[in-house]
């Protein structure tokens, strides 16, 4: 039986980006906060030691920093007519674990979603008619871009994001993204110095009348001291971002932006290597009493608290709600239930280019150092004559030239042996790629629930993921791939090779760790699990913060919006909930 611990004001499940931000904000209000993190404590000098942090075999191939399937996995299938099987190795996406979460080993692309992304259903219905959305389950967020603006701003300044504004107070800024929503001020730091491949890409895109701009990056272009007084370093462009921790204090993460201040506070405590089993509800099922967790020695503890914040990875937030019976699990047959509803992903495609007369020095790189073309993203272009909605950012961001993983060879090259070595030698410096990161729009049959067969090491049912790319998204991706082909031709390579997106979703090759939905926000408790403040409709002292709240995914990396949602929810708790605990929105 679980032993009961002394009560806390707030228990936070997961100490990654959102957990750290919420903990900082709520301790500022004087609350006594404990964060329970199932992975280990991690710190820059000890865990991302400059001497071994660039061990590609350990970190990129063997994924030393990631969640291992033995700890938690899920089952997957493409459609409800199939029987889901467990993923015995993560492939298509790689959830994080440990303090800092996946924010430790991300690349650092830090976007705002477009204003039309937030009221997507209303916007597209008005512009193209309801029939266009018939096969999809697109929804509005219940919150507007204008409401989110200052939360985005705070996250960007916390992180020291390096970029160029495209729209300040509705005035278009040369050099930035002309399609973005209005921001009240520029990024805290200027864009990074561009490398050769993105520079050529931008020139080609401009020659086609497109509007390339530097990708906003959490790899810092300059030294920076954030509003909490924490110093960060200038990125050295070492090319070891994604799958690695940063040794130089130059990639934004909970470690480099929040934890040094948070850990000094006497009203905050972090408990690591401790896995929350479920949220405990009272007899009515309408109030949470705290959580039960297992520590590193296998001992079970009950942590009572007045508020529970689910700040785990989005997929795990949804599963914890299901295991804790918070809200009703979604049923695709009836369309009823909200937890697990509108799981979405990312619809990506790519193109690789080979040259004879160029030298790109691919090892000079950073996770978000590159150029983006957003002329075909979201609803920045007219879809009237097209057969889809949504779009994709086209990103030329050569993240690395690492010796094991970066081996660009043309099709037809053997996979090993002397011919492969020769092709590597001939092409390593002379190739680069760019890719489309496409929106993933919700569909009735894409969802999360609990698997009827498979259980985890604690005997809890695994989560079951049912997902395939909707036809709309496949049409979108092919159309954007055609646009990418035009850019590729304009670059005049010796050869280009396209990797187009087709059905069905395959869980093996890596694609993206942008899993969204499952505990989506909205204005209607019938179609959303949490209200516009990320508060559970069913258990009002539970807040669920993360990409789990996205009603569908945009053609952009989610972290900027996830960080902004953390500030947005923190404000609602500090300024509204604490004064008058209870539902912040009346259904």
């Amino acid at each position: 039986m679980a032993r009961k611990l002394p009560r806390k004001d707030v228990v936070i499940v997961g100490l990654g980006w959102t957990g750290a931000i919420l903990a900082h904000e709520l301790t500022e209000s004087g609350l006594d906060v404990v964060a329970i993190e199932r992975g280990p404590w991690r710190d820059t000098a000890t865990d991302f030691n400059i001497g071994y942090v660039s061990d590609e075999l350990r970190y990129a191939v063997r994924r030393d920093l990631f969640l291992q399937p033995a700890q938690e996995t899920l089952t997957m299938r493409n459609t409800t007519s199939q029987t889901a099987l467990p993923m015995r190795d993560f492939g298509s996406f790689l959830p994080g674990t440990g303090v800092g979460g996946a924010g430790v080993h991300w690349n650092g692309h830090t976007w705002r979603f477009y204003p039309s992304d937030f009221n997507l259903k209303s916007h597209l219905t008005e512009r193209y008619g309801a029939a266009r959305l018939a096969d999809l389950q697109i929804q509005d967020w219940g919150v507007s871009y204008d409401e989110m603006e200052s939360a985005y701003d705070r996250f960007e300044y916390l992180c020291g994001i390096s970029g160029k504004a495209g729209n300040i107070g509705n005035k278009i800024q040369p050099g930035g993204n002309p399609f973005e929503g209005p921001r009240k001020r520029d990024y805290p730091l200027p864009p990074m110095e561009m490398t050769y491949a993105p520079t050529l890409f931008a020139e080609a895109a401009r020659s086609l009348g497109l509007h390339p701009f530097p990708t906003p990056s959490a790899n810092l272009s300059k030294a920076y001291v954030n509003p909490l007084g924490i110093a960060m370093g200038q990125c050295t462009m070492c090319g070891f971002c994604e799958r690695f921790g940063c040794a130089n204090y130059s990639k934004s993460s909970a470690q480099t932006t929040v934890l040094p201040v948070l850990m000094r506070k006497s009203n905050f405590e972090a408990r690591c290597n401790s896995e929350v089993l479920h949220v405990n509800l009272d007899a009515t099922g309408k109030m949470a009493r705290g959580v039960t967790y297992v520590d590193g020695n296998g001992e079970e503890w009950e942590q009572p608290a007045d508020m529970v914040l689910l700040c785990a990875y989005g997929l795990h937030n949804a599963r914890l709600m299901m295991l804790s019976k918070i809200g009703k699990i979604y049923d695709p047959q009836t369309g009823e239930g909200t937890v697990g509803r509108n799981y979405a992903y990312q619809t990506n495609a790519g193109v690789q280019l080979f040259f004879d007369d160029k030298n790109f020095n691919p090892f000079v790189a950073a996770g978000a150092l590159g150029q983006t073309v957003d002329d075909f993203n979201g609803d920045t272009f007219d879809h009237a004559a097209l057969d889809f909605v949504g779009g994709a950012g086209i990103n030329c961001i050569p993240t690395n030239g690492r010796p094991i993983g970066f081996r660009p060879t043309p099709p037809g090259t053997p996979r090993w042996g002397s011919a492969w070595k020769k092709a590597t030698r001939d092409n390593y410096l002379k190739a680069f790629g760019f890719s489309s990161q496409g929106s993933s729009y919700a569909a009735r049959g894409n969802y999360l629930d609990l698997d009827p067969t498979y259980k985890d090491r604690f005997g809890r049912p695994l989560m079951r993921m049912t997902f395939d790319f909707p036809d709309n998204d496949i049409r979108m991706s092919h159309w954007v791939s055609d646009r990418m082909e035009e850019i590729a031709k304009a670059l005049k390579p010796r050869q280009y090779v396209q990797a187009r997106r087709n059905k069905s979703w395959n869980s093996v090759p890596y694609q993206s760790t942008h899993n969204t939905g499952g505990a989506i926000m909205g204005a209607d408790p019938k179609t959303s699990a949490v209200n516009k403040f990320l508060q559970s409709w069913d258990v009002p002292n539970v807040f669920v913060i993360g990409a789990s709240a996205f009603p569908q995914n945009a053609g952009k990396n989610p972290t900027g919006t996830v960080g902004a949602l953390a500030f947005w929810a923190a404000d609602a708790i500090r300024n509204q909930y604490l004064r008058n605990p209870g539902p912040l929105v009346q259904a």
Binding site: D43, T44, A45, T46, N49, I50, G51, Y52, A223, V225, L228, G229, I230, A231, M232, G233, Q234, T236, C238, A247, N248, Y249, P260, V261, R264
Partner: protein
Amino acid sequence: MSHLSRLAAAAALTLSAVTLSAHPSAADELPFDRIVNGRYQAVLGDCAGCHTLPGGASFAGGVALPTPFGTLVAPNITPDAETGIGHWSETDFRNAMKKGIGHDGVRLYPAMPYPAYTRMSDRDVADLWAYLRTLQPVRNDITSNQLPFPFNIRAVMIGWNWLNFTPGAFKADPNRSAEWNRGAYIVQGAGHCATCHSPKTALGADKTNAFLGGAVLQNWLAPTITNARREGLGAWSIDDVTAYLKTGANRFDIASGPMAEVVTNSTSQMTDADRRAIAVYLKDLPGEANKATPVAVNDPGMKAGAAVYADNCSACHGLKGEGQPKLFPQLADSALIQQADATSLIRVVLAGSQAAGTQAAPTTPAMPSLAWRLNDAQVADVLTYVRNMWGNAAPAVASDMVGKLRKSLKSGS
């Protein structure tokens, strides 16, 4: 109130306190502002540095102090009657602070820096006593004296004191400003800077002719903090010194090792005026103009060191040793890098080190350990290199010195 009646009142209070909470209340004898001053004396003296275990009860003792003569454990100085100093009188306390003689005539070891505290004014000592009496008594039995024979015989300190210790109050210099004198009073007295920063004789006493000239203890070098141009504070402005004391970081350097604790527990909590007074005084201490010729760049050790530096150090400290304020210490034209003794530098490369964290500079960046990656010769070469590049000049580091320290750190001493 007459002296007698005050005593009687104190006695009555003490009696009632015993029956209620066993909490001594002699502090009630002094007004609030004196107790506040006493608390500030505890900050100036960094009492917590030795008498509070990290995470432990305040002033309940327990921090082990390795000395060249053996280990001493700082005692419990809360007013607990049995395990603390609850049974001491104010006279006992004054004698301990100013003469090194505790309750019942027990001789203290100078790890308790009474050779410095003797310069404190009677009033400040009285206030500190009053403050300590207000603390919550904590029961924590500590065996302070864990020295081997013959040093464990406290009477040896009688001879030591006769040879090495001059009791006596601080004497102000009437030709200097009040600020200078305040700085001197703190540095020589409560601040006991010389305890770490002055070279020691074979008997462990401060060398009087090299005040604050730098010394090695616990495998750290406490550097020169006179105004010496190259090794000392010569290149630092008064604002640089005060920024360092307040935040643990300035444009040159970041505190780590034992000084990080001093910044956290003591200097960051001092008043701005006192930090400035300390800076004014230290900047006025003459330091020898130590001339050194840099090791030639074509020296084989320098060449090897340049390669090690490029691969292991330059990403953070910069290709020209420029570093980055508040994050990566500057190595170019750096006093700490040019100390004659390279102990701290070797230690930091081998074992790593975390910077001080303060309200004003909370980042606490850390140097990673490179002991597993660099052999003795590589550590020696890279240090010789940084000690003789970018305006630096200092003796080459020998690889056997690295080996010795590596062994010592491994054994945990």
